[in-house]
């Protein structure tokens, strides 16, 4: 009994601590017992995933399953997680593996075949080489060089239009891009240059790019928000690597966009959804893939995830329709070649850019 008084302050602290802790709450993801009907669908995705609550409720009402979202890391992290855990998958559906990583996942047998009915116009986004149609394209966004039109107008300088222009001395020290090794759009830009100059020509192009004062940053936010003249931090570089949709976010008071995307410099990233091999709830998984391809989710994609839907019939938000122009003929690299050479290309790229 004597020690009770000694413990009292500690106990009080501990109680105060638990009162506002997260531990006490139930996780809401109890595993169903063996043989029981699954009651939930688990979606494994990357950290950029966002879906309005209204749509989540809609899915749950339509199918009777609870939707559990496990979101973390970027597309690369997601893919590698799926590969490493394929014997005991993290969930039922994966969304967010893109065309630069998809081959790795397919080669490793992460996905179970499920040929979901695609919406109008989505067929063109199929992953080349995905013979079983295990992956369904859900959205796309093209990585393009963006320019600050107001800056060029102020400087009386012609706006660059092509990859070639970026190595023109007239545009020295004006370009900033996230690095290919550390950033997903950065990698896409490297692929764009490989698509444009070939597997043996891109190295010289990058050497010239670096000679022309190109600045590399860690990630997209550094390049766009800090160094780009139209970013949040008002930097001093008027050419930046960003997305085809970015001009829709730089609308001035007069209702026009201050920036534009150079549509001849684009590499298209398509994000896929697929049913995971070994899913605990394959029916629910298929229902979720269907739902992601349905008109409601497709319509919500631009607002919540900053990407274009694959469904051509979906009406885009007004700013998007007006200012976010998609490339008609993006630069391409075969997904198999990406899977095979990613390591080698990144190593070469690192050598060139850190010289």
């Amino acid at each position: 009994m004597r020690s009770v008084r000694a413990c009292a302050p500690m106990l009080a602290l501990a109680l105060a601590a638990t009162a506002c802790s997260t531990v006490g709450e139930s996780s809401g993801s109890e595993e169903p017992g063996d043989g029981a009907t699954p009651t939930e669908v688990v979606l494994v995705t990357h950290e950029s995933f966002a879906l309005p609550k209204k749509l989540v409720r809609q899915f749950e009402e339509q199918t009777g399953y609870d939707l559990v979202v496990r979101a973390s890391g970027d597309a690369g992290v997601l893919t590698n997680k799926l590969v490493l855990t394929q014997d005991n998958p993290l969930g039922d559906v994966a969304f967010g593996v893109d065309n630069t990583f998809a081959s790795r996942a397919l080669d490793e047998g992460v996905f179970a075949p499920y040929d979901a009915p695609l919406p109008e116009g989505a067929e063109q986004y199929r992953l080349p080489g995905d013979e079983e149609n295990a992956l369904s394209p859900v959205d796309n966004a093209s990585v393009c060089v963006n320019v600050d039109d107001t800056w060029f107008a102020d400087q009386d300088l012609a706006v660059p239009t092509s990859l070639d222009d970026l190595v023109d001395p007239a545009y020295e020290d004006l370009f900033v891009t996230p690095g290919a090794a550390t950033s997903s759009p950065g990698m896409a830009f490297l692929l764009a240059t490989i698509g444009a100059y070939g597997e043996d020509g891109w190295q010289d192009y990058w050497a010239s790019l670096m000679d022309n004062g190109t600045q590399l940053t860690d990630g997209w936010s550094d390049a766009y928000q800090v160094d780009f003249t139209q970013g949040g931090g008002k930097g001093d570089r008027p050419i930046v690597l960003s997305y085809d949709s970015s001009p829709a976010f730089t609308i001035a008071e007069d209702g026009t966009s201050t920036t534009s995307a150079l549509l001849d410099t684009c590499f298209r990233q398509v994000e896929y959804a697929g049913v995971l091999a070994g899913a605990a709830n394959p029916e629910g998984a298929e229902a979720l893939v269907d739902f992601l391809l349905g008109p409601d989710v497709q319509a919500a994609l631009p607002e919540s995830m900053y990407v274009f839907p694959v469904d051509a019939s979906v009406e885009l938000p007004q700013e998007w329709a007006e200012f976010a122009e998609q490339p008609t003929e993006p630069l391409t690299v075969d997904p198999e070649a990406i899977a095979e050479n990613r390591d080698e290309w990144l190593r070469e790229w690192s050598d060139i850019t850190s010289r």
Binding site: A6, E47, A50, T85, N88, G179, A181, Q215, R237
Partner: protein, 544 residues
């Protein structure tokens, strides 16, 4: 035998936690690297180590971390003196402010730093952007608080009389410091230095953001190899390098930390006011304030910018879900999640850390026992030195089967954060606990006090300040932790750093402004919590 059993008993809980949530996942990832395609192939791992790039990366990691640690010590030790041994107005506020960098997400600090030193920034003329100097400055920015707090906690209750005795024997201030004060502080300084070194050596965002991709450290390399290339052999090779390096570091520091007599006389005298002789401390504090204050000021001014004018719009927007519902939850809700997670991580790391500190500082009777204790001491430092990526992936592949099916558990995030904070807690508490004369405990025991009562009588009165300091650390670590959290967090319950990362990762002036405003809120919350914690008194301490 009984003593060893008692030792094992006390150590059992922390050991079990470390085993399940650290040793198991990391060995799982290493195994993936060594057993490529099912066959044991250590040669491939060795081959990676022979690559010139690997060697360059290791060399950069070592020298930048050593330099940053040295700078953090040079600034932090004098600053600790002023902030913990002298009395002046605003001292508590200043102490809290200096802890703020600790919680800021690297991505935001990177932005704040680069707004200052970038080509277009006010300090752009220095040409600092993208240099190794910027990386070192960033590392010091993040870690100087560790030195100030850990050394300050030990310094605070140091008996001034030996120093006065030395002065009366004709020693000047510098000599007194070198011959009396420094030896007494050595365990704390070495502890802080080893923690800072590990933080620097495993820094991720700072190296990439401020180094402009020209520099790679072991940590960034592991990240690239694991998340992008899925080259687990190479990642395993570098993880082995990390583990070996930490082990070497721990051996060196335990030698340096060992003092013939760790017992320190304690005093609770009121600190004197600042005097002329305190100029090194004043200078260091000013430098630290500039280093820490400028980026924070840039952050605050950025958060107040609305279009071409000023306003609080960004702050008002924090209760919404972003200009285009970029977030599933309002930032305010993320703040609540962050605070709750931090409370969990704090009590976990304090509980575990206290046990570990008690176990490692009790006097050893035999050489075996001494070895066992120092081994334990080192073991709990390991989580600091191993890449968050390795740990994160390891969680997924090893904690997926009952009875260790934790990978979807809500506990995983606070546990991961507690593991990161644990070495800080141990290193803050252990020097102080080790400094208590064991005979004090024996005196209490011989008067009839049981182990718990003895702890309350003897240890707690000396410990509560360092304990609060450690709690502050753990809380701050948890609030700011991004690496492991981003691996584990679930989107329906994101923490503040995750939300900030989200906001700043999307175009739109509003999102950018909100990201900065959210960072300011996170920083301010931390500062307030720190201030409250420092004001806490343990009311019953004097009662026994």
């Amino acid at each position: 035998m009984r003593r060893l059993l008692a030792l094992a008993g006390l150590a059992a809980v922390p050991l079990a936690v470390l085993g399940v949530f650290f040793v198991l996942p990391v060995s799982g990832m290493l195994a993936e690297g060594f057993w490529a395609d099912g066959t044991f192939d250590p040669g491939a791992v060795a081959e990676v180590l022979a690559r010139p790039r690997t060697q360059r990366v290791i060399w950069f990691t070592v020298w930048s971390s050593v330099l940053a640690t040295a700078c953090a010590l040079l600034l932090g030790v004098p600053a600790a003196h002023l902030l913990h041994r002298r009395r002046f107005r605003g001292r508590a506020a200043l102490r809290a402010l200096l802890l703020v960098p600790f919680v800021l997400p690297t991505v935001v600090v990177g932005v704040a730093f680069r707004e200052l030193i970038g080509e277009a920034g006010p300090l752009g003329f220095l040409g600092f952007d993208g240099s190794a100097g910027a990386i070192v400055a960033g590392l010091v920015f993040f870690n100087v608080a560790v030195v100030i707090r850990a050394v300050g906690a030990a310094w605070e209750s140091l008996d001034a009389r030996p120093a006065e005795a030395a002065a009366s024997l004709g020693a000047g201030p510098a000599r007194v410091f070198l011959t009396v004060t420094l030896p007494a502080l050595r365990p704390a300084i070495v502890s802080a230095a080893s923690v800072v070194f590990l933080f620097c050596a495993t820094a991720f965002g700072v190296v990439l953001t401020l180094g402009g991709l020209r520099y790679s450290s072991v940590e960034t390399e592991i990240y690239l190899l694991t998340t992008n290339l899925l080259d687990l052999q190479a990642a395993a090779a570098l993880s082995i390098v990390q583990l070996l390096a930490i082990t070497a570091l721990l051996v060196v520091t335990s030698r340096l930390r060992a003092v013939p007599d760790p017992t320190l006389a304690r005093s609770t005298a009121r600190p004197p006011r600042v005097a002329r002789g305190d100029w090194p401390g004043v200078l260091a504090v000013l430098l630290v304030v500039v280093l820490v204050g400028l980026p924070i000021a840039a952050l605050v001014s950025g958060s107040l910018q609305v279009g071409d004018g000023w306003g609080l719009d960004n702050y008002r927007a924090l209760t919404t879900e972003g200009s285009r519902q970029a977030l599933l939850v309002p930032v305010t809700q993320a703040l609540v999640t962050s605070l709750r997670t931090a409370v969990d991580a704090t009590w976990m790391s304090l509980g575990l850390g206290l046990l570990v500190a008690v176990v490692v500082t009790r006097r050893s009777r035999t050489r075996t026992e001494r070895r066992a204790r120092s081994l334990l001491d080192g073991l709990f430092m390991l989580p600091l030195g191993v890449s968050a990526v390795t740990l994160g992936f390891g969680f997924l592949i090893t904690l997926d089967e009952p009875p260790l099916d934790f990978r979807d558990s809500l506990l995983l995030v606070p546990i991961a954060q507690a593991l990161v904070a644990l070495p800080l807690v141990v290193r803050t508490l252990a020097p102080v606990l080790g400094g208590i004369d064991d005979r004090q405990r024996q005196a209490a025991a011989s008067l009839g006090a049981g182990p718990l009562r003895t702890f309350v009588t003897v240890d707690l009165p000396v410990m509560w300040k360092p304990l609060l300091a450690a709690a502050g650390f753990a809380f701050a670590v948890s609030l700011g932790e991004f690496g492991a959290t981003s691996f584990l967090a679930r989107d329906d319950n994101p923490t503040m750093p995750i939300v900030i990362f989200h906001l700043i990762g999307h175009p739109g002036a509003m999102n950018y402004g909100m990201a900065l405003a959210a960072s300011v809120v996170l920083a301010a919350t931390t500062a307030v919590v720190m201030l409250l914690v420092e004001r806490l008194r343990v009311p019953s301490v004097g009662a026994f």
